[in-house]
Symmetry: C2
Subunit: 292 residues, 2 copies
């Protein structure tokens, strides 16, 4: 496999034209030689094609990626933009349908399971893990947005086998869509995102689960914000939670310890201690969200 | 005390020209005969006066509310728009400085303690509790907004002694600022808002408290939303938490039960159960936030 990669000369394939894949396609318009979109949902493909988000729409049927199909040439870079379980599934199927040299990148929300599956790919593949830190709770191509990736952190997790070509492809993609590359290991990634993403979703869900529906008239902007993630479709989250179960359980325990500190200060009417904790949290909040 | 109340002929006093009081003053412009602002912070008073948010600025010194001070006449309706402990404090001081008939309303975040203090006021006062369900995490007059109350639910909690005049005053104010009146008891109010407001703040704080500051580069819109309330100044929240301690502790226990259901489903790899809980939460979320 050659070492160089030139995005402007490359045929890029995106599997899954939902919010993430669709937005990616929109922000790559004019920045690669050819954009091929794959989706199992025919109306999504038609919508993407009619909006000129992709150059060519390809249903997900056997062997959609090979040389010569309708004369489009091979896909140089394939980006997997489906939920985690489906990414794992595609990684199993790829060897049977692609035999040409191909960089494979994903945009899945966990990295250890995906990198493990990538490590089993045959030698014609040059795999690299990816995870852009952006999104919305309203999914699907109809909510896709060419600016979704603008200024977003984009994690890159290389494998030991990842060659220069895949790293170049990833960095050119990230630069083209206006995101910021951060490299980290899959282990570190999954530990961090259990705390910053997966547990916040579960807290939102638990909050809503414990709030009687007849309180609906009394919901203000505070509850709305704290509970927003509970609106995320759970089919999106199940694969993430399965795939990152150990880290999520450990981050829930950390959260529970913090909540118990607060609860016991209030229970014991130790208001000095309570205010200390809340002040510390406010300072941490300023640090953690300084860029937002 | 006469039974009627006419906002357009009334002198309205607002104690505390922060986000809530300042926004209230802005949205009452032109809707009452005269608007007098009281604040302990001289620059705030000057800002309010220079922006024409109030007709008259009055420092909080002894006897600021009585007849004849600079010939402005008496305050017909006094609105307490400070944090809860300060509202409780003013309610103790009022009998010594106002002897004319006066409707007293507050916009504090808890109601039982405030209504108890109101019930001890002398007969020249006609008290009624209030709580508008709106706000921002950035406080102060500089963030005040004439539209803050627009379409917001505004809880009214009358006392047994509350006369028709105070109810009319409250409903005319609420209508003038574009909010929606909801009447409830102080007990019911404090129970509901422990769950919909005070506990969400504590969850945000506990989440931030348990998140290492070095994760700041990996914060996305989800964490940002779930942790937003942790940015609320804790001096605002301490009085609320003290005042509503029993209900807050009970709402924390309900939340913990929900979180433990989720945690144990994940721990036991009972993914069917986990997805059921998350789906139920998503449905509740749609119901609870349908108006937003």
């Amino acid at each position: 496999m050659e070492d160089g990669f030139s995005l402007k000369d490359a045929t890029v394939g995106i599997i899954g034209l939902g919010l993430m894949g669709g937005s990616l396609a929109m922000s790559l318009t004019g920045k690669c030689a050819r954009l091929v979109g794959f989706d199992s949902h025919q109306p999504t493909l038609e919508l993407a094609h009619s909006k000129n988000i992709i150059d060519h729409a390809q249903p997900l049927s056997p062997s959609p990626f090979g040389r010569g199909a309708r004369g489009e040439g091979v896909v140089d870079l394939l980006i997997l933009a489906t939920p985690v379980p489906s990414i794992l599934n595609f990684l199993e199927q790829l060897p049977a349908i692609i035999s040409h040299p191909c960089v494979v990148m994903d945009v899945g929300s966990t990295k250890r399971d995906i990198l493990q599956a990538m490590s089993a790919l045959p030698e014609n593949f040059d795999p690299i893990g990816g995870h852009p830190i952006c999104g919305k709770e309203n999914l699907g191509l109809e909510n896709a947005d060419a600016d979704l990736y603008q200024n977003a952190p984009f994690i890159i997790a290389p494998l030991e086998r990842t060659a220069q070509r895949a790293k170049l492809a990833a960095s050119q993609i990230i630069s083209a869509i206006g995101a910021t590359l951060i490299e980290m290991t899959a282990e570190e990634h999954d530990r961090v995102f259990a705390a910053t993403s997966h547990v916040p979703f579960l807290l939102s869900s638990a909050l809503v689960h414990s709030t009687p529906r007849e309180f609906a008239s009394f919901i203000g902007p505070g509850f709305h914000s704290t509970s927003r993630l509970a609106g995320t479709p759970s089919h999106m989250m199940m694969g993430i939670l399965r795939s990152n179960r150990d880290n999520v359980l450990s981050a829930i325990r950390s959260f529970r310890n913090s909540l118990e500190e607060i609860e016991s200060a209030l229970q014991n009417e130790n208001y000095v201690e309570l205010e200390n904790i809340l002040n510390q949290s406010r300072k941490s909040h300023l640090t953690l969200t300084a860029d937002h």
